[in-house]
């Protein structure tokens, strides 16, 4: 109804109105002015730097010196750089493992919270706290929990008799990887759980009742009712989750700064080290630009997930 009214062509200005008044009733002209502040920010500080980043990656710019065009030399350099490839491996491992576990635990937690529980609203509020607290500050708490000498985790396990000596959480290559992945999961699960819970609450309970009467098991109810109805929201949530895990910087920077021996070096932390600390802006920009294809792939996958969903609902594939 509202759409019909909106789609009508701009109404002709009343006769006798001045050109200025006519202009101010023109929706295209007004739209331009209304868009101005947002567009200014996004063009100056988002679109322009995005293009500038690609350009920088093709130059040998250093801090305090504008570079000259060197073609794809930075990329050739990276191609032969084993640390770069290690960071790609780490980033993919970090993203895939953390996203899969975040999804599984998040969905499980959402299903648990969707049960008929006392203090439901309060539980939901508590679950979200790890997401509210700034990542850096909770990462510092994890840094202390992962301390090589005074870790409470090691202490507890030792006093339970499960281990003999303290675990070196952040000093050992694989321990460090699993430790940062765990911290990332800890922080991401609440987001996934609460957004999926919002999706679950829109599923009509009568569907479950009907399925139960027809003899469906709990797994069948989940597989054939919950999951299909939740697919669109899962696609969006997981896109965000994958994007932000892939480009994560804060958690690694606080916990390990990429160490030990680059075992937890992600592409984002490597580009910061090369560009800001070592001052090689061009090379850092090349690493950052190399992240873009991965991000596009993640977005496209979720896009096609949504498309399939539309088709299942019997809507046109527009």
């Amino acid at each position: 109804m509202a759409d019909i009214a909106l789609k009508a062509p701009a109404k002709p200005a009343p006769r006798g109105a001045s050109a200025w008044a006519r202009l101010n009733a023109n929706r295209n002209w007004l739209g331009l002015w209304f868009m101005m502040p947002a567009a200014a920010f996004l063009i100056l500080f988002l679109a322009y730097p995005l293009g500038l980043g690609v350009w920088l990656s093709l130059t040998d710019a250093k801090i305090g010196r504008t570079g000259v065009f060197v073609g794809i030399e930075n990329y050739e350099w990276l191609w032969d750089d084993s640390i770069f490839w290690l960071s790609v491996f780490n980033t993919l491992l970090y993203t895939i493992v953390a996203s899969v576990i975040k999804f599984a635990v998040g969905l499980y937690l959402a299903l648990l919270l969707n049960e008929n529980l006392p203090f439901k609203a309060m539980l939901r509020a508590i679950v979200l706290i790890p997401f509210i607290v700034p990542t850096v500050l909770s990462a510092i708490a994890f840094w202390w929990l992962y301390d090589s000498q005074f870790s409470i985790v090691s202490w507890t396990l030792r006093h339970l008799g499960l281990i003999n000596s303290n675990i070196d959480f952040l000093g050992d290559v694989w321990n460090a990887r699993w430790s940062v992945i765990f911290a990332n999961i800890w922080r991401g699960v609440p987001f996934v759980a609460i957004t999926l819970l919002a999706g679950l609450q829109t599923v009509s309970p009568s569907l479950y009742e009907a399925a139960t009467i027809d003899g469906a098991t709990a797994w069948q109810r989940f597989r054939h009712i919950t999951y299909p109805l939740l697919t669109p929201i899962i696609a969006v949530v997981m896109t965000f989750s994958v994007l932000f895990t892939f480009t994560d910087f804060q958690l690694i920077w606080v916990l390990t700064r990429g160490g030990p021996v680059n075992a937890t070096q992600l592409m984002a932390t490597l580009s910061y080290q090369r560009a800001i600390i070592a001052g090689q802006l061009g090379e850092g920009a090349a690493i950052a630009t190399a992240m873009i294809p991965f991000l596009l792939a993640a977005i496209l996958i979720s896009w096609f997930g949504l498309q399939r969903r539309k088709w299942q609902q019997g809507e046109g594939n527009d």
């Binding site: 730097p49 539980l123 850096v136 800890w186 892939f246």
Partner: protein, 306 residues
């Protein structure tokens, strides 16, 4: 009856209440012992894991130094002699109050700028429907997907060129690029729910678009504005990589950057004050969140659902 009372006490939203009416439907099929194992036990384990780091953070911040590192003499899980020494040191011996002020100033400045820009943009996209509005809407959503990690290097040169380096304005002007796409998308959703007939009446009565926005649309979109404000504020407070890159003077830093860079002297980690700093930096957000949980959740889920 008890169900009604419980619902009222929990203050659940209208939508939750709508489904909750039926949720008791099949609960009788499960016995209590079964629910204990399948629901309450896993739920408590997850909650303990989620909350333990905060308990540990709070406990460490009030432990005296000798109990902090001596874990054999006294149980490390609580403290017998709580002290506010670390908070005292934080307030009077460091720049912490200044950092807190910087963070607050930057977060509020960037949030207000973003909300103003987003209200105008969202209104224009949803209601003015100028030529190409849907395309712009899509472009704004894509902008939300551009992560700061790939922008900070070129942005640092831009910030330097504009002479903003090491000033709060470097962050106040760059944070909106993270916030505007999100809040525009959120507000578009809210504006769509306002009946167009209201605006039609106002147009017939001779109101300009600007008057309609200020007098009719905004008052009706207050919940949406609060949601956008809370979420943007939290994001600003949380932001790290821009603050780390664009600020260099100790006195100009924000809380997350200052804690990471200024609190670690050599190899002697000052765990007590580090944890006190982390706790004090988190509390303002947690308190704000406690008052506006529903708005925060609706912001988070609303943006995803659109």
């Amino acid at each position: 009856m008890t169900d009604i009372l419980r619902k009222a006490a929990l203050g659940t939203t209208a939508k939750a209440a709508f489904t909750e009416d039926h949720s008791e439907g099949m609960a009788y099929l499960q016995t209590l012992p079964r629910r204990l194992v399948t629901v309450y036990l896993p739920l408590s384990i997850i909650l303990i894991v989620l909350l333990f780091p905060f308990y540990w953070m709070a406990l460490t911040s009030i432990k005296p130094d000798d109990q902090l590192l001596d874990m054999e003499r006294v149980s490390p899980f609580w403290t017998t002699a709580p002290t506010l020494k670390h908070f005292y040191a934080l307030i009077f011996q460091t720049n912490y109050p200044l950092w807190l002020w910087n963070t607050m100033f930057i977060a509020i400045g960037a949030t207000i700028l973003s909300i103003v820009a987003s209200v105008l943009a969202a209104y224009a996209i949803v209601r003015l429907r100028y030529r190409g509005a849907s395309f712009v809407g899509g472009a704004i959503f894509l902008a939300y997907l551009v992560p700061p990690s790939i922008l900070f290097i070129p942005l640092s040169t831009v910030v330097f060129q504009y002479g903003l380096f090491d000033t709060p304005f470097a962050l106040i002007l760059t944070y909106p690029t993270i916030l505007i796409p999100f809040s525009t998308w959120l507000l578009m959703g809210y504006f769509k729910t306002i009946p167009y007939e209201l605006e039609e009446c106002a147009l017939i009565d001779g109101a300009s678009r600007w008057q309609i926005l200020i007098r009719i649309v905004l008052p009706l979109a207050v919940p949406g504005l609060i949601s956008a404000f809370i979420f943007c504020f939290t994001l600003c407070w949380n932001e790290f990589i821009y603050a780390l890159t664009f600020l260099s003077t100790t006195a100009h830093k924000t809380v997350p950057v200052a804690i990471v860079n200024e609190f670690v002297d050599g190899d002697i980690y000052r765990w007590g004050s580090l944890m006190a700093g982390a706790l004090a930096g988190s509390l303002p957000l947690v308190v704000l969140y406690a008052f506006f949980v529903e708005h925060y959740v609706s912001a988070m889920t609303g943006a995803v659902k659109e």
